[in-house]
């Protein structure tokens, strides 16, 4: 008799605990999904900040040190890329610039060949803490000197 009661009680207890864990996990996942939505717009804004800098003058892009983290900063009604770290709420956003090579014969972007000073590879990264871990989203694109 006692052993049946104990087994029944433990089955009920375990199922309640499992249901509770699942519901808490669902809160974690839905928060993470919401933060990912916010991060998607921050990535887009980072890309547009680089484009705005390019539209003002290509030297704003070509003058940056390659493979270094820059932080988009809004000041004097425009976006600038600052080496000083900043945060947007819980999010950290960085922009890094890499040089691009073009194949000597096909002129396509490739890992070998000669450096093209009129094209840069931009990587925008947004990262934020989520329940003890850090989640990182990146956006990569090429930008070209089309106005000068």
């Amino acid at each position: 008799m006692v052993i049946e009661v104990l087994i029944a009680v433990s089955i009920i207890a375990v199922s309640i605990l499992v249901a509770m864990t699942v519901s808490q996990k669902s809160v974690y996942v839905s928060r993470q999904a919401f933060h990912a939505t916010q991060a998607a717009f921050l990535l887009e804004e980072g890309a547009e900040a680089v484009r705005i800098q390019r539209d003002n003058a290509w030297t704003n892009i070509s003058g940056l040190t390659a493979d270094t983290d820059y932080y988009p900063t809004f000041s004097a009604n425009t976006w600038t890329l600052s080496p000083t770290a900043n945060m947007v709420g819980i999010f950290t956003r960085t922009v890094s610039i890499a040089n691009v090579n073009r194949d000597n014969t096909t002129k396509d972007i490739s890992t070998t060949g000669a450096n093209d000073p009129g094209t840069k590879l931009i990587t925008v990264t947004v990262s934020w803490p989520e329940g003890g871990t850090t989640i990182t989203k990146t956006l990569q694109f090429y930008i070209s000197d089309i106005f000068s």
Binding site: L17, S23, T37, F41, E48, D55, G89
Partner: protein, 165 residues
């Protein structure tokens, strides 16, 4: 002579105490679990509503990207000069009215961009002028009407006008 083969029936007091306390603890656990689950269900639906409000920002971004000039801009109103499918000029206006974000096309109200369970608590447009064009920086702050903690969430975006790039 009667045979004394009386078997023991019923529970000993100690046994009863044990069972009662066991079921008390179990029911407390169950009630706590139900409260936790109800709370997380509400939290999940609030987060889903907020995530869906990202479509407001998406719509504003798309309209800005398609437009060729800024008609009028003030803190929480933005009028864009854009073109419709056939290439005819039209205006698109985003306007904060109370806690609703209204969309007006050619001056006619077409509806609210936010769903009834989302309050737009702040909206701010800033114009950026570059050597080659214009861009709009947007800040959208929303909250869920079902959230008793009244937490607000911010969306940030900047979009370059590409209509006449």
């Amino acid at each position: 002579m009667t045979k004394n083969n009386k078997t023991k029936h019923g529970y000993v007091l100690l046994e009863l105490l044990f069972y009662i306390s066991f079921f008390t603890i179990l029911s407390l656990l169950a009630i706590d679990a139900i409260i936790t689950m109800a709370r997380s269900f509400r939290e999940t639906s609030i987060q889903a509503e907020l995530a869906r409000s990202g479509t407001i920002m998406e719509r504003i971004g798309r309209e800005i990207r398609a437009s060729y000039d800024v008609g009028a801009i003030s803190g929480n109103d933005l009028t864009l000069n854009t073109r419709n499918d056939t290439g005819a000029n039209k205006t698109v206006k985003f306007s904060l009215s109370g806690s609703d974000l209204e969309l007006l096309e050619n001056g006619v109200l077409t509806g609210n961009l936010n769903t009834p369970n989302i309050d737009v608590t702040a909206l701010s447009f800033t114009q950026i002028t570059t050597a080659k064009g214009k861009a709009i920086k947007i800040l959208l702050t929303v909250k869920s009407v079902n959230d008793t903690l009244v937490r607000t969430q911010d969306f940030y975006d900047t979009v370059v006008l590409r209509g006449d790039y």
